[in-house]
């Protein structure tokens, strides 16, 4: 995968030799990509330490490497540019994707640690987390359809392996379903996206404006992107793999899949629609319909789950629908990008937090009975994560949803915002199914692990901080 990425880069370098109008300057471009390079080196390093039989170094190295990558992203805030001849963007979306997704990967790695420690594949798992998140970052900064394809493949291949790593029947079956579904959707995507190349003569997203007046070609490519990214982001009706894969995979992997590749794909979709001619092939309406379907289907299906991981899987399908409210509005006002970024930050914190508590308590809904009495802190944290997912002030989820609804209305999709609000109320019923039994008589006290507690404590602080301090975040985005 990495080699194919490098080959692509080399190929583009060759194109420049042929006299492209854009100057390509490695000395300028590479520092812009420092965070991505740091993530890549972290992935490589984790494998190297594994091979050197130094498994204990794996976790600290990965965590520090990813934190360094986050640190390298901070100076990029406010940058609006492209690198590698317009093919990769270093802009608000892509920089904030790094600031959100790399720390989210750190939390996921910490969640995985109790599950993989002292196994012979510990370093491999960490490496896969880093590589998959690199795929998500590639999607979030894509300026070229080739990067979309590359991002989907990179994050998919890593995810398949992550789901399968326990090598038991459940995870193998889950990974198989995921692989088959992923291969088919990727093939459809690659096939249809060639229409855009055929119609515009360019793979650059910034040239998509040439699709003006070519509705069929525009529609074919749109279907390609929606299928490919819709699958990555688990948007209904391309979500079928998600509940099975999440449930078969270790909880930490489910947590990771529900956040990092999903947000990457959503941001990638936003990068694509930004450059489409206004209303080409009716994309706003199509995306709005997918949003309504995802929200409604996800919440309704979540309502009947008995397994908390499956419940959260369906809830994450619904949350993808909320994300699409921001995508619908891209290009139609200032709120769209702000809302996507704020909601992504809040969603990463609250969803990872909820999964961390699930990891501590257990997958079965019955295990949550009495949690609020047996372990009041974990119970309270779970309540905060869930009501933030509903969107109750003053938590992060509320601010994110408020911005999303505002963005949709600004773009003229009032009905979609109303559907979103009705769905928020429906989702209250979904999450109350976890909350209500938590305050009955406890059956057993959950196992406690300091690392897990620390992880959800961090997520808890972030969930509250993003809500209360929303103005600070918005100020950086304006």
């Amino acid at each position: 995968m990495i080699s194919s990425g490098l080959a692509l880069l080399q190929g583009m370098e060759g194109m420049q030799g042929m006299g492209g109008s854009m100057e390509m300057n490695m000395g300028r471009d590479l520092p812009m990509l420092a965070p991505e390079i740091a993530v890549l080196l972290t992935a490589v390093g984790a494998i190297v330490f594994e091979m050197l039989r130094l498994p204990r170094v794996g976790l600290p190295f990965t965590v520090i490497g990813l934190l360094v990558a986050t640190g390298l992203s901070v100076p990029l805030v406010g940058t609006e540019t492209t690198v590698f001849m317009d093919t990769f963007r270093v802009d608000t979306l892509s920089v904030w994707a790094k600031l959100i997704l790399i720390p989210a990967t750190v939390l996921s790695v910490l969640l995985a640690y109790p599950e993989v420690r002292d196994t012979y594949r510990e370093g491999t798992v960490y490496s896969l987390f880093s590589l998959t998140s690199l795929g998500a970052l590639v999607l979030a900064g894509a300026g070229d359809v080739m990067f979309i394809v590359l991002g989907v493949l990179l994050s998919s291949l890593g995810s398949f392996a992550l789901v399968a790593y326990p090598r038991d029947d459940r995870s193998t079956e889950a990974a198989m379903k995921y692989l088959v579904f992923g291969s088919v959707t990727s093939a459809v995507m690659i096939f249809l996206i060639t229409f855009w190349f055929g119609a515009t003569g360019s793979t650059l997203l910034s040239d998509l404006g040439r699709l003006e007046g070519m509705p069929l070609a525009a529609a074919a490519g749109l279907v390609a992107v929606l299928v490919g990214l819709g699958y990555k982001a688990a948007i209904a009706p391309f979500h079928f793999w998600a509940p099975d894969a999440y449930d078969g995979a270790p909880v930490s992997v489910a947590a990771f899949l529900s956040v990092v590749p999903k947000v990457g794909a959503i941001f990638g979709l936003a990068q694509v629609v930004r450059d489409l001619p206004p209303g080409a092939a009716g994309w706003p309406l199509i995306v709005a319909a997918l949003a309504a379907l995802s929200m409604t289907y996800g919440n309704l299906a979540a309502l009947v789950q008995e397994n908390v991981v499956r419940l959260l899987a369906y809830s994450s399908i619904a949350q993808s629908g909320y994300f699409l409210l921001g995508v619908v509005a891209v290009g139609q006002g200032g709120l769209a990008l702000q809302s996507l970024i704020v909601f992504a930050a809040a969603y990463a914190a609250m969803n990872l937090g909820a999964f961390a508590v699930v990891l501590q308590v257990g997958r079965n809904l019955g295990k949550f009975t009495g949690l609020g009495r047996a372990a009041p802190a974990a119970g309270a944290a779970m309540v905060v994560f869930l009501i933030s997912l509903v969107g109750i002030p003053p938590l992060g989820g509320f601010v994110g949803k408020l911005l999303l609804f505002g963005a949709a209305i600004e773009a003229g999709f009032l009905w979609l915002a109303v559907v979103g609000i009705l769905n928020s109320v429906l989702s209250l019923a979904v999450y109350l199914r976890i909350v209500v039994p938590m305050y009955r008589m406890p059956k057993e006290a959950p196992a406690s692990s300091r690392l897990l507690v620390a992880t959800w404590a961090v997520a808890l602080v972030l969930t509250v901080a993003i809500g209360v301090g929303a103005q600070v975040l918005l100020g950086r985005l304006a």
Binding site: P393, L414, V418, V425, Y439, V468, Q471
Partner: protein, 489 residues
């Protein structure tokens, strides 16, 4: 300046957090915390009352910016309409805590939930921001659900669920209306004062928003035909739960009717006022006649609440319909005073019926007889509260209902048939007094004990305030009137 409103508002929540932290606290400690925290909150409310609401507009405003670019902020404050309700809420919660201090079953959770409810109820009355209002409005719902489901009588699960689903679905339209107001305001804000100063919606949008608000607040009030959750919830709720439900939660509906429907969509309300008035009149008469058919004392009191709240709805409709400022102030004075009076009187009635039930384990009025000779203290208190409830002059309901009827006569002369409700309630209370309190003492109850100090302390203040409001209504009316006469152009 010391933030009295915020401190008063969040004091109960702090108490609840303290109880949650004190795992394994015995019942005595829990109740001591409950009584002292709600006592402090009452002091805070009295302090707020002492500072008053000069000028008629919102005063004692406390504001903290949250997301200025979205117009969302923490904003609290009071005016002459909310201030008496805040004081009434604090008094009722204090009385409830004193009365409940004998509850032994899971006392820590019980007290914590009631404290949470106190913050939520006060929050609804002092919120000046629609998001804040909506959150507090919903929290009251969750708190009441757990109180009924956890400490109610036989069919408590069903009653709690009916209550929850009914009012949750009922409050959805309000959310849509809030969204509409937000989008209509320019610049976009959630500040209720901005909506009140210049109503953001006009035409069809305003009518739709008004209808949405009416649905929400009618369910909460409740108004016929969406009142069906009320008798079930009341009969199954524990006594203190009923006191809060009838005394405070029903007012959230009528308060919303004034604060939102009347103040934020005044023109649309003027057009629809006659419909609202018909709902109010019908509800009042329906409540009275159904109450007449009850033999269960608690259900009887519950249905008289439908009757009394019907008068409030009528008063608000009259205020919306008229263009004459003095009539409007008259009707609104009456409606606001009626809310406060109903809080004290019905609170006392539910406490007294609860005391009877604690002793006799039945609420059937036919099972009693001659109680006046067996438990004179309790019986006379019941007589006083019943007389207040039927609107006897000199007691709290009289000045309120009198003003509402006077305003109605000006605007909708036909609606005065609602006075019939007074006659019916008088009849039903006299019948209840006759059956249960007078006559030959029933041997079965000869061992009943009269009021204990705990019971005197809880119901005494409510009866005292009932008499005080009846004799000197101007104590509350001066504050209310300053706002109602300045309300609307």
């Amino acid at each position: 300046m010391f933030p009295v409103v915020s401190v008063t508002l969040f004091l109960p929540l702090l108490g609840a957090a303290l109880l949650v932290a004190l795992r394994g606290a015995p019942a005595r400690t829990s109740h001591a915390i409950g009584i002292s925290v709600s006592g402090l909150t009452l002091l805070g409310a009295v302090w707020m009352w002492a500072r008053g609401a000069p000028g008629g507009g919102f005063s004692q405003v406390e504001e903290v910016a949250w997301i200025p670019s979205l117009g969302a902020a923490y904003r609290v404050g009071v005016d002459g309409i909310s201030l008496p309700l805040v004081l009434m809420t604090a008094v009722l919660f204090f009385a409830s805590f004193v009365f409940s201090s004998h509850v032994g079953e899971r006392a820590r959770s019980y007290v914590a939930l009631f404290l949470l409810m106190e913050t939520a109820c006060l929050g609804v009355f002092v919120s000046l921001d629609t998001i804040l209002f909506y959150v507090f409005f919903e929290v009251t719902l969750v708190g009441m659900y757990f109180i009924i489901a956890g400490w109610g009588y036989e069919q408590r699960q069903r009653a709690a669920l009916t209550f929850f689903i009914y009012t949750l679905l009922g409050s959805l339209p309000l959310l849509l209306a809030i969204l509409g107001l937000y989008l209509g305001s320019d610049p976009n804000t959630f500040d209720m004062r901005a909506y009140i100063d210049s109503p953001p919606l006009t035409g069809l949008a305003a009518t739709l928003a008004l209808v949405a608000m009416l649905v929400t607040f009618f369910v909460k009030t409740p108004v016929f035909p969406v009142h069906t959750w009320l008798p079930l919830a009341h009969t199954e709720a524990p006594t203190a739960g009923s006191v809060i439900l009838a005394g405070v939660l029903l007012k959230l509906g009528t308060y919303g009717l004034i604060r939102f429907a009347l103040q934020m969509t005044p023109d649309a309300f003027r057009d629809l006022a006659v419909v609202v008035a018909v709902f109010g009149v019908f509800s009042a008469l329906y409540g009275a006649f159904v109450a007449l058919g009850q033999t269960d004392l608690k259900r009887l009191v519950a249905y008289t609440s439908v009757n009394h709240m019907g008068y409030v709805v009528l008063g608000v409709a009259v205020a919306a319909a008229t263009s004459d400022a003095s009539t409007r102030a008259l009707a609104l004075d009456g409606a606001t005073l009626q809310m406060v009076a109903h809080g004290f009187v019905t609170g006392a009635l539910f406490l007294l019926v609860g005391m009877l039930q604690d002793r006799a384990h039945t609420r059937e009025m036919g099972a009693f007889g001659g109680l006046l000779r067996i438990v004179p203290g309790l019986s006379w208190a019941l007589v006083l509260a019943a007389f207040a409830s039927l609107g006897l002059p000199g007691l709290a309901h009289f000045p309120a209902e009198f003003q509402i009827f006077l305003g109605t006569l000006d605007v909708y002369p036909l609606a005065v048939i609602v006075v019939l409700g007074l006659a019916v309630t008088a009849g039903l209370y006299l019948r209840a007094i006759g059956v249960a309190l007078l006559g030959k003492p029933n041997e079965e109850w000869s061992g009943l004990k009269d009021l204990s100090p705990r019971e005197v302390l809880s119901v005494g203040p409510l009866l005292f305030l009932t008499v005080l409001l009846g004799v000197a209504p101007f104590l509350a009316l001066d504050v209310i009137h300053a706002t109602t006469e300045a309300l609307l152009p």
